[in-house]
């Protein structure tokens, strides 16, 4: 039944905003596109993001996650993308051949180019090693969001949230709206990690205390969470003795970071950047493996779905060009040329190379710590190739920096001043 291997110009792995946009853009360039998404409904993580705040950049409207997703689903469908739901990619080879599977079918697909848009997974309690037993009632915020918004399951009644990133804040409000007591949000850093407006509409509106410079140092309860111990942390990141206090609760939600899901990529030989946990890509979003492109949360964690989608569009168009043989650069010319480095005050920059840039390129970056008025500059060959001034910069808010890539020979450094 699988002796006939199907073929497609561009295969997109993942049907969230980046994948949908990549597929639409590739198809709009004339490529034959197949999108594979493992969930029953397209939209990826957006289906459970029932809050609004999406679409301001892309559509000039304020949309909820599902509404935003539906726009891209329609666009992909209108562009003629073959959309496969309930389709999980089990294996990807560097050659662009992949194995995908769904109930009653396990099949192979050969693609001229592949766009990796698998999104991310959540950092777990086990990874951050919170001491204690392993009772029921410890959930990552995204899983809790799914259970709440899609399964109609109440995860608990008295909730402590570790992590003040947007997901944790949104869940603080969601659970409060649904009659749970959200007792406190705990944040290890001395500043909140989420957007200020979420601090406002999720915590301040409901008088939920936010404990900065604190973390959960023990989970109590053998069978179900009974309470958590919270301790203050100093600037060196060590717990302050004598600063601990306990909070009685039955649920601990963890919003402690997202990890790009690159298991498929790694096994296909894609080189990953330790700082982003995503692929190293050039200005066309191609990885070190020719024909494999990456975009969205699997490339680096985004805070705006709008920008994840736009990045998908760029990657999808490039993938279509590659598959159609119209890519500008020969494969041998790509790769190590024109590396882009994160300089002072910058945590990371994507893409990590300007190779394959055509004229202008867009650098996405994050700063290392919150700052007020800042100028972010990209320099190469002794001159500035792009710069942007912002009123305030925060690690939680991605910055986009357009640069002029034409004629750039040497390495590029992006830094704050």
């Amino acid at each position: 039944m699988s002796d006939r291997i199907q073929r497609t110009d561009v295969a997109v792995i993942g049907g969230g905003p980046a994948g949908l946009a990549a597929a639409a853009a590739a198809a709009e360039q004339g490529a034959q596109v197949t999108l594979l998404d493992r969930n029953p409904q397209l939209g990826g993580i957006l289906n459970q993001c029932i809050h609004d705040g999406f679409g301001l950049h892309a559509f000039g409207e304020v949309l909820t996650g599902p509404e935003f997703a539906e726009r891209y689903v329609r666009r992909a469908a209108d562009a003629g993308v073959r959309l496969e739901s309930n389709a999980m990619v089990a294996h990807l080879a560097a050659s662009g051949e992949l194995v995908w599977t769904r109930t009653s079918r396990r099949a192979r697909l050969r693609a001229g180019a592949v766009v990796l848009a698998m999104g991310c997974r959540e950092r777990t309690r086990g990874m951050i090693r919170i001491p204690g037993c392993r009772p029921a009632g410890v959930y990552t915020a995204g899983t809790a969001q799914w259970l709440t918004n899609l399964a109609n399951v109440r995860i608990g009644r008295r909730i402590v949230i570790l992590g003040s990133g947007d997901i944790g804040l949104i869940m603080a409000r969601r659970m409060t709206w649904e009659g749970a007591e959200v007792i406190a949000v705990i944040e290890k850093l001395p500043y909140p990690s989420g957007l200020p407006r979420n601090i406002n509409q999720c915590l301040l509106d409901y008088e939920i205390p936010l404990h900065l410079s604190h973390s959960v140092t023990r989970i109590h309860g053998r069978h179900r969470v009974e309470r958590v111990t919270v301790s203050k942390y100093d600037e060196a990141g060590a717990p302050v003795p004598g600063s601990s206090f306990d909070i009685d609760c039955d649920t601990l939600l963890l919003s402690v970071g997202l990890i790009p899901e690159n298991e498929l990529s790694r096994r296909a030989g894609v080189r990953l950047d330790r700082r982003t946990s995503g692929a190293e890509v050039d200005a066309s979003y191609m990885t070190n493996v020719p024909g494999l492109f990456s975009c969205g949360n699997v490339l680096h964690i985004h805070d705006l779905a709008d920008w994840a989608a736009e990045e998908g569009e760029r990657a999808g168009a490039a993938a279509a060009a590659y598959a159609g043989g119209t890519a500008q650069l020969e494969e041998e010319e790509r790769g190590e040329r024109t590396p882009v480095h994160a300089g002072d005050g910058v945590r990371y920059v994507v893409p990590q190379s300007l190779a394959a840039a055509q004229g202008r390129a867009l650098l996405s970056l994050r700063v290392t710590e919150p700052r007020g008025k800042t100028k972010i500059e990209a320099t190469a060959d002794g001159r500035t190739i792009g710069s942007i001034a912002v009123r305030k910069a925060h690690p939680a808010t991605m910055v986009q920096l357009p640069v002029e890539a034409n004629g750039v020979a040497g390495p590029v450094e992006v830094s704050c001043s």
């Binding site: 029953p40 409904q41 289906n47 029932i50 809050h51 609004d52 705040g53 301001l56 304020v62 949309l63 909820t64 996650g65 599902p66 509404e67 539906e70 709440t148 918004n149 899609l150 399964a151 109609n152 969601r174 709206w177 649904e178 957007l195 200020p196 407006r197 979420n198 601090i199 406002n200 509409q201 509106d205 805070d303 705006l304 009123r391 808010t397």
Partner: protein, 129 residues
């Protein structure tokens, strides 16, 4: 002179709006600074006089491929009415198929605002229940 800092929630910029006013806050008696766009001025005044929020929540679905759909108030409602809006939605069960934009409740809790569906749910075929 009264003053307050309000973080605007209208867009991800989250401008810190510095608001100054004398006596009762009203349109011509309020000074707003720190906004990147004009909407911030309106937002600041609203926050002071009658704060509003958009409610996004879930509503049950019968005979659909999922048991919940997501909904929103079509426009912001008074912040103090959020609890009544939610209570009004609890007993509602929609029948699949459900489409985006479909009205779930008109003039919910007397706010004058409708609640609409934000995620389609096709009708279930074949499965038990």
């Amino acid at each position: 002179m009264s003053e307050r800092v309000v973080t605007c929630i209208l867009c991800p910029n989250g401008c810190d709006l510095e608001v100054h006013w004398d006596g009762e806050p009203a349109k011509d008696r309020v000074e707003v600074s720190g906004n990147l766009c004009p909407k911030g001025i309106r937002y600041a005044l609203d926050e002071l006089t009658h704060p509003e929020r958009t409610l996004t929540t879930s509503v049950r679905v019968r005979c659909g491929t999922q048991r919940l759909t997501s909904v929103k108030t079509a426009a912001p409602v008074p912040r103090d009415a959020l609890a009544s809006v939610r209570a009004a939605l609890v007993p509602i069960v929609l029948e699949a198929p459900v489409s985006t934009g479909q009205v779930v409740a008109e003039n919910v809790a007397g706010t004058g605002i409708d609640v609409i569906v934000t995620r389609p749910v096709p009708r279930r075929t074949g499965r038990a229940r």
